[in-house]
Each structure stands twice: as structure tokens, then as C-alpha cells.
């Protein structure tokens, strides 16, 4: 009997939450931003981008050296 009570309670909570979701509230990742975890993603992406940029800059420099060598010949 106890388990049935729990299940009905759970069902009730789910139905209430789904009703509130339908009533015009659009779910956004506000919680994610509030808890601050989105900064982790931003930091990771920034590092990935900066890493790729440094790599491209190194290729750029190596190419400049090569151009110098060829043009001096």
C-alpha cells in the first residue's frame, strides 16, 4: 500500500510539472547559467580555440621562414 502512495505522489508531481511546462514557460538553461557551470564550457571552448590559433600562428611563422629562404636564393 505504501508503494502505491509513493507512486501516486510521484505521478502527481510529474503531472504538475508537465502542466507548468505547458503553460507558456519555455525551458531555458537558466539553471545551468545560475549554477555557473556554463563557464566551464566557455573556458574549454576558449582553450580549444586559442590552442588552434597558436597552432595556426606557428604554421604561419614557419611558412614565413621558408618564404625568406626561397626568396634569398
Amino acid at each position: 500500500m505504501k508503494s502505491i502512495k509513493y507512486i501516486t505522489a510521484l505521478l502527481f508531481i510529474f503531472s504538475v510539472s508537465s502542466i507548468s511546462a505547458q503553460s507558456g514557460e519555455i525551458e531555458m538553461a537558466d539553471v545551468m547559467r545560475e549554477s555557473g557551470k556554463i563557464y566551464v564550457v566557455v573556458a574549454v571552448l576558449s582553450i580549444v580555440f586559442v590552442g588552434l590559433v597558436i597552432y595556426a600562428a606557428m604554421i604561419d611563422r614557419r611558412l614565413s621562414k621558408l618564404e625568406k629562404e626561397v626568396n634569398e636564393k
Binding site: 531555458m28 556554463i38 564550457v41 566557455v42 586559442v50 590559433v53
Partner: protein, 226 residues
């Protein structure tokens, strides 16, 4: 004045896009939810692609009037970077479409137009590789490339606007600017376009320089043989 100031600008603008693109407030919309932020990453790829393919178009026309092989090198390398950006644009669009339109590929005129455009540009590279004689290759592919860019504009910008498209701003669909009432998204979107485009131009200059080096070496080898 630093010669590479615009590369630094490009990096700063894209970093700004990555940081603010995730942190600013965006309009809360059904279906889209937070994925509206893809505007800063998916849509900007296409802007950069158009810019590079347009560059390619201009240099193809310049080649036809000047016959300078340098112009043809720039035209082909710009098309190459443009296609690379377009491929990223299609793949990111497929992910976005999968979660908002329900399938990675829907029968949308803009999607099919993008696919046709990519095939047109792939044919440009096939055409180039099929000819060994340098001047002939440059001339024929320049003429083809001029038509290719016109087809790109038709397939990506004219036809989708004449029929119904799921893409914003097409076929009576509202644009993002209608939703972005307080213009917060614009503060990231415009810098993002400039930043990603400049990154594409950076890659373009790298490719042109490599091509010129190998071209120089080839002509040196030919001269030493004679």
C-alpha cells in the same frame, strides 16, 4: 603598424563570440531554446563562406582580364576555404536541424540548395585537376567559377526566398532580427561574422603562400631542366 593586426583582431572577435555567445541573455523561444545560440556559430560559417566564394569570384574575373597566374591561385584557394567553411556549415546545420526540425536532413529548399552549391564547387576542383596546361586550366576554370558563384547566390539566396523554407527570413518566415527585440544578439552576431570571416581569410593567406612557394619551386625545376 603591425602587419598582422587583423589576425589578432580575428582572434579577439571570435574569442568574444565564444564567451559572450554563451553568456548573454537570449530570447526564450519554443523548440529553439538555448540552441538559438547556434546563430553565432552555424550562420556565421555561411557568411564567411559567401565572403570567400565572392573573393574567389572577383579574382576569377580579374584573372580573365589580366591573365596573371597569381589571380588564378587566389581564386582557387579562396574557393577551397569557402567549401571547407560550407562543409562545416552543412554539418553544424544537420546537428541543429536534428534537434529542432526533427531530422538531420529535411526537404528544405535552402538545404538542397546548399548541397547543390557544394557539388558545383566540387566540380570546379575536378575541372581544375583535369587539365595540365596551366593557362588553359586557369582560363576555363575561371569562366566556370564565375557561373558557380552566380549559382550559389541563386540556390542559397534567391530560390529559398521564393518558396517556403524552414530557414528564418525565407518564404514569409520571420528573421532572428524580429525576435531579437533589444538587439542583444546583434552585439555578438555582427562581431562573430567579422571574426569568423577574418579567420577564413587567414587560412586563405596561408594556403596562397604555400601554393606560391610550390609554384615557384616547380618553375625553378623546369628552368633548371632546360
Amino acid at each position: 603598424m603591425l602587419k598582422y593586426w587583423w589576425k589578432i583582431l580575428a582572434v579577439i572577435l571570435v574569442l568574444y563570440t565564444i564567451i559572450n555567445g554563451f553568456l548573454i541573455e537570449v530570447p526564450a523561444l519554443p523548440i529553439l531554446h538555448e540552441s538559438i545560440r547556434n546563430l553565432f556559430f552555424h550562420v556565421t560559417m555561411w557568411f564567411a563562406m559567401i565572403f570567400l566564394c565572392g573573393t574567389s569570384w572577383i579574382y576569377s574575373m580579374m584573372y580573365l582580364s589580366s591573365s596573371k597566374i597569381e589571380h588564378d591561385i587566389i581564386a582557387s584557394e579562396a574557393a577551397n576555404v569557402g567549401v571547407m567553411l560550407g562543409a562545416i556549415g552543412i554539418l553544424t546545420g544537420m546537428i541543429w536541424a536534428n534537434f529542432t526540425w526533427g531530422a538531420p536532413w529535411v526537404n528544405d529548399p535552402k538545404l538542397n540548395g546548399a548541397a547543390i552549391t557544394m557539388l558545383i564547387y566540387l566540380a570546379y576542383f575536378v575541372l581544375r585537376n583535369s587539365m595540365d596546361e596551366e593557362q588553359k586550366r586557369a582560363k576555363v576554370s575561371s569562366v566556370y567559377n564565375i557561373f558557380a558563384f552566380i549559382m550559389l547566390v541563386v540556390f542559397l539566396y534567391v530560390l529559398p526566398r521564393m518558396t517556403d523554407s524552414l530557414h528564418p527570413g525565407n518564404g514569409g518566415n520571420g528573421t532572428f532580427s524580429d525576435l531579437d527585440i533589444d538587439n542583444t544578439m546583434r552585439t555578438v552576431f555582427y562581431p562573430a561574422i567579422i571574426g569568423w570571416t577574418l579567420i577564413g581569410v587567414w587560412f586563405l593567406t596561408l594556403r596562397i603562400r604555400i601554393k606560391k612557394l610550390s609554384y615557384q619551386r616547380e618553375s625553378e625545376l623546369i628552368n633548371s631542366e632546360n
